[in-house]
Structure formats: C-alpha cells, structure tokens
Amino acid sequence: MKTDGIDVGKVAELARLQLKPELKEKLQHEMEAIVGYVEMLSELNVDGIEPTAHAVERVNVIRDDVAELVFTREQMLANAPDTIDGELIRVPQVLPGEGMA
C-alpha cells in the first residue's frame, strides 16, 4: 500500500461530488493523513483469513413472493424535488442534444 498521490479530483468524480477548489486542497491533506493512518493494517499478515462482510452470518433470508401495495404513487412522489402533474418525476435533460420540451 502506498498513499502518495491520492487523486482527489478523480475520487470526487467517482463520488459525484462537486468540490470547491479550496475544499479540494483541504481534503488532499486530510485524506492523506487518514489514509496514512490506516496504512498500519499493512503490518498484519492476513493470509488465509476469511473476510467478515457482516456482523451476522445469515444467508438467503427470503419472504413469500407475494405482491403488496406498500405505497401509492402519490406517497412515493411526495418527496420528489420536481414532478410532472404529480405523476412522474421530472429530471433535467439526460442525453446531450437539443433541449426537449
């Protein structure tokens, strides 16, 4: 593990976060310090150790495949930032090209 050169811009791109330039610089230092700290894990030999992904080991918890009406459309859309007549979520243009009505 080597920490030099965390590409903060690239990570922000992956995380879909618009960062102000001064914030980028601050994060650069902070992330390097934190990642530098967690480097200590490289001291440990974990050959043959199974990873723990979850605190409890349960698999395939399933319920009966029965359709239920949990929320109405109105309830589902009540928190949407923008809708079309309360029926559909309105989003800004997705594909490049001429504006759509």
Binding site: R16, E39, P51, N79, P81, I89, V94
Partner: protein, 493 residues
C-alpha cells in the same frame, strides 16, 4: 414533578397511580423544553399540538381500560435518522431538508404500539458521522452539564434531551460508539444492542453492517425495558436475528432484589488501559468503578485483545466504504435536495451532492470511494474485512475467560466546542467503542462518576457476547445501585 430525573419506570408508576395524566406529564416536559431548549438545542423540532394530541389519546385509552402497555402516554425523543410517518427526517443534513417520512421505522411502529408519545426529533451529527454533534447542518447541541462543551455524538441530541430532562427516554443509533459516547458525556445510560437484535428498517443507513438502534435512558432498568419494546426479528430487515422474547426488565427486577455479582468474571483488556491519551480523570473514575464491582463480588481477570490497535483503522475503512455506497442514493432525483443550478443529469448529481452534504459527510464519502476504488479495493477494503475477522476472534477468545469486558467509554470527558478540529484526532476519540460494532456484540455505557478537573460525567463501558444483553443489565444494575455517586443530574437550573 421533577422532569429532569423522571425515569421510564417512575413515569409508568406515576401514570398508573392516577396521580398524573399523560397530558399533564407532556405539558411538564413541554414547559421544561421551553425553559432549557434555547440553551441546550437538543431538538430539531417538536410540535406541541401533536404531542398533546397523542397524550390525550393515551389518557382516553387509560380511562377506557385499553392501555397499550405499561408505558402508554410516556414521551420519547427520536434521533433524526429514525423515520416516523408524516414527520420530517433530515439526519441533520441539508440534503434531506423538508423530507417527510412516508412510513414508520419498525422501532417507531413498536413505540406507537406500546403507546409512547413521540415528543420530537433529536439533533445529531449529519448522517450520524461525528463524535460531537458539531457536524449537524442546523444547530450545535450543548452539553447540559456545561454549555461550553459538546454533548458527544453522533446521538448528541438524544443524549442531551434526556440529560436536560426534556424527555423521559430517547432512541439513538450506534455505528462506532454514537450511543455510548454521548451517553457517557451527558451522564446517562446508553445501550448498543447486539447487531440484529433491533430492526434497522426505517433507520437511514450510514454503515449497514455496523448500525444498530438502541435506548438512551436515565437508568439501566429503563434501557432494559426499552429494549423489550424495540427488539425483535423483522421481515423488513433481513439482518435482524431470530430471537425469543427475553423480558429484560422483568429479569432486572428479580435480580435487583439481591444484586450481587458473585461468580461473575469481568475481563480487563490490557491494551485498552495501556493506551496513550487516556486522561487521568477517566482513569480515576474507571479504577473506582472496578473497586465497586469487586465489592459486589465480581472477579476481574486480565485478558488481551491483541488487535485493538488496528480497530480504528479497520473501522474507518469499513464504515466509510459502506457510507459511500449507502449515500449514493442521494442523487437529487427522487427525493431530497436538488440544486437549482443543475442543467443536466450530471450536474444534478454533482451539484446537488456537493451543495447538500456537509464537510464531514463529503470527507467520508471521499474516503469510502477511495478505499473501494479500482486498484485500492484489495489493499484497503478487503484487507480491513480480514482484519475485522481477527478483531472478532480476539473477542471470541476473550469471552472464553470472562463473561463481560470492562473498559472506559471515551479516553476523555466531554470536550469543548472546536477543541478537536482535526478530523483524524476526532476519529481517534472513538478508540474504545468501535471494536464492538465490528464484532457485532452488545455493550452499555453507564455513568460512573465525575471527572475530577472538569466536573463532567464519565461513563464506563461493559461489553458482552452477542445476544447476552442480560449480562449487561444485571451487572450494570448492580453497579448503578452500588456506585458512590447515586444521581447524575445536569446542573442546568
């Protein structure tokens, strides 16, 4: 009526005796909120009309002999990451400002079925990320013991609302100590149940393999009684565990008739006490607590948790990785904040998230994204998951020698606002609490004494194996009855 110290048990007795109605009780708490809230700022919102309506409904049930439980009519505050239908749930974040929960969390549903009055929404670090409540996008909550100090975090509003006497009891959530540390800082009891004991359905996810909802209360009995209310397997949370109904409160009631700890073995992990930075005040309180427990008959044994020094590194990789994935859902499309400057789909994501998340949340999303990113996944995330296995094995080995483990909760008592400005230093203040979330076991923070220099409360932590909460409650209750300082009342008046 003295709201400040009114426990769940006393409130239940008071209502049952007929000496007070739920409406009277809730009015008293509303008066208390009016009196102290402008100094404490524990609550993000509460609606008097709604509270009194719930209380009146409870009184009507009582009059008609249709009580829902012994706790019908008692007020409870919810951390602002727990959904309650029709109420705002912001996680103290701008990105969820105005978000109205369309449904009840399972714990909320259980509280309602028991007749509790939902009193208000408690402040927190944004998305439960922090140890001081300073990361709330809305307000800073003060510690009722000293208004210049933080209440701890992330469930700081829940802790402060209980300690300030604004409510009888509260729910918080604990991902790396977020119930136990603020409980310690505010002189109350905080329980992190076994992972899977309580359903997480309706808890806004931070780190799904670590998060757990738990009670924050004025006594060990109250924590046990509240766990009875909220525990249980839930078809809506596939990680919730099958379990028998345990009746923890009844067990405590029987036990406290002869609260001795003879035959109980408590482990002292040497690594926790060798830690640099353990303050002398906290050390003094914990040493005294050990003496108290010994006098009760408990036997202390030295144990080792050899990977302790790696727990923080492991935690901050696992927690941030899961957070970055969980918080990907905040995209400005279906709910939550959408930037008005967005012009296309990409800028909707980038601007809504950039403007909506606070600094600490952005920092953790960035860290999580980094440790999960191509080329670093094996070195950080997979490695941390393997180290998590080693940490869990440490505990398994330790519990072969003891029934419970005793440690401090936090190396220092409540600190002042702004005192921990460096994020890494803030992270490291969780050194005694994160391992428990990684292991998935249960633990409790119980007030033990006051720090000699600052006069702030200091808690001790008891940990037990998964599903062994009963051990925490028994030992905790015995300690609570025997400790030198009987009452922990914040000097707000």
């Amino acid at each position: 009526m003295n709201c400040v110290s009114l426990s769940l048990r006393e409130a239940s007795e008071l209502l049952a005796s007929g000496r007070m109605t739920s409406v009277d009780m809730c009015r008293a708490f509303l008066d208390r909120i009016r009196k102290v809230e402008d100094r404490v700022h524990a609550l993000l919102n509460w609606k008097e009309e709604d509270i009194l309506r719930q209380a009146a409904e409870s009184d009507a049930r009582r009059a008609n002999g249709k009580l829902l439980s012994a706790f019908d009519g008692i007020p409870v505050t919810l951390k602002d990451n727990i959904c309650a239908s029709g109420q705002q749930c912001t996680c103290a974040s701008r990105i969820l400002e105005g978000f109205i929960s369309p449904y009840d969390a399972t714990v909320t549903e259980k509280l309602k079925k028991a007749g509790f009055v939902l009193l208000g929404r408690a402040n927190m670090d944004e998305f439960a990320m922090g140890s001081s409540c300073e990361n709330s996008a809305y307000q800073k909550t003060a510690n009722p013991w000293n208004l210049d100090c933080v209440p701890g975090g992330s469930s700081g509003g829940s802790a402060a609302s209980v300690a300030a006497g604004e409510t009888v009891i509260a729910l918080g959530s604990d991902t790396g100590g977020s119930i136990r540390q603020p409980a310690s800082f505010c002189g109350i009891v905080g329980l992190k149940p076994t992972y899977g004991r309580v359903s997480r359905y309706g808890l806004v996810a931070f780190a799904s393999s670590l998060d757990q909802i738990g009670p924050m209360s004025k006594s060990v009995y109250d924590a046990a009684a509240m766990l009875d209310v909220i525990a249980g397997q839930d078809p809506m949370d596939c990680t919730s565990l099958p379990q028998e109904k345990e009746n923890f409160a009844d067990d405590v009631e029987v036990f406290e008739k002869n609260p001795r700890l003879d035959g109980v073995k408590i482990g002292l992990p040497k690594e926790y006490f060798e830690l640099e930075g353990l303050s002398s005040g906290v050390k003094a309180v914990t040493e005294k607590a050990i003496e108290t427990l010994k006098k009760l008959g408990a036997e202390f044994v030295n144990i080792s948790l050899p990977h302790t020094r790696y727990s923080m590194a492991c935690y901050y990789i696992v927690a941030t990785a899961e957070a970055s994935a969980n918080l990907a859902r905040f995209d400005g499309i279906r709910y939550g904040y959408r930037s008005p400057r967005a012009t296309d789909i990409q800028s909707t994501y980038f601007l809504s998230r950039g403007e909506g998340f606070g600094m600490e949340v952005a920092r953790r999303i960035m860290l999580g994204t980094y440790v999960l990113s191509s080329g670093y996944y094996d070195a950080y995330y997979l490695k941390a998951q393997k180290v998590r296995t080693l940490l869990r094995r440490d505990f398994e080995e330790a519990y072969k020698k003891c029934d419970l483990i005793f440690t401090p909760v936090s190396p220092v008592p409540a600190f002042r606002f702004g005192e921990k400005a460096d994020p890494l230093q803030m992270y490291l203040s969780d050194v005694f609490t994160t391992a428990l979330n990684l292991s998935g076991d249960c633990g409790i923070s119980i007030p033990a004494g006051l720090d000699e220099t600052s006069g702030m409360p200091v808690g001790i932590q008891l940990m037990a194996p998964a599903m062994e909460e009963k051990r925490l409650f028994r030992t905790g209750r015995a300690f609570e009855l025997a400790r030198e300082q009987k009452e922990f009342l914040a000097p707000l008046d």
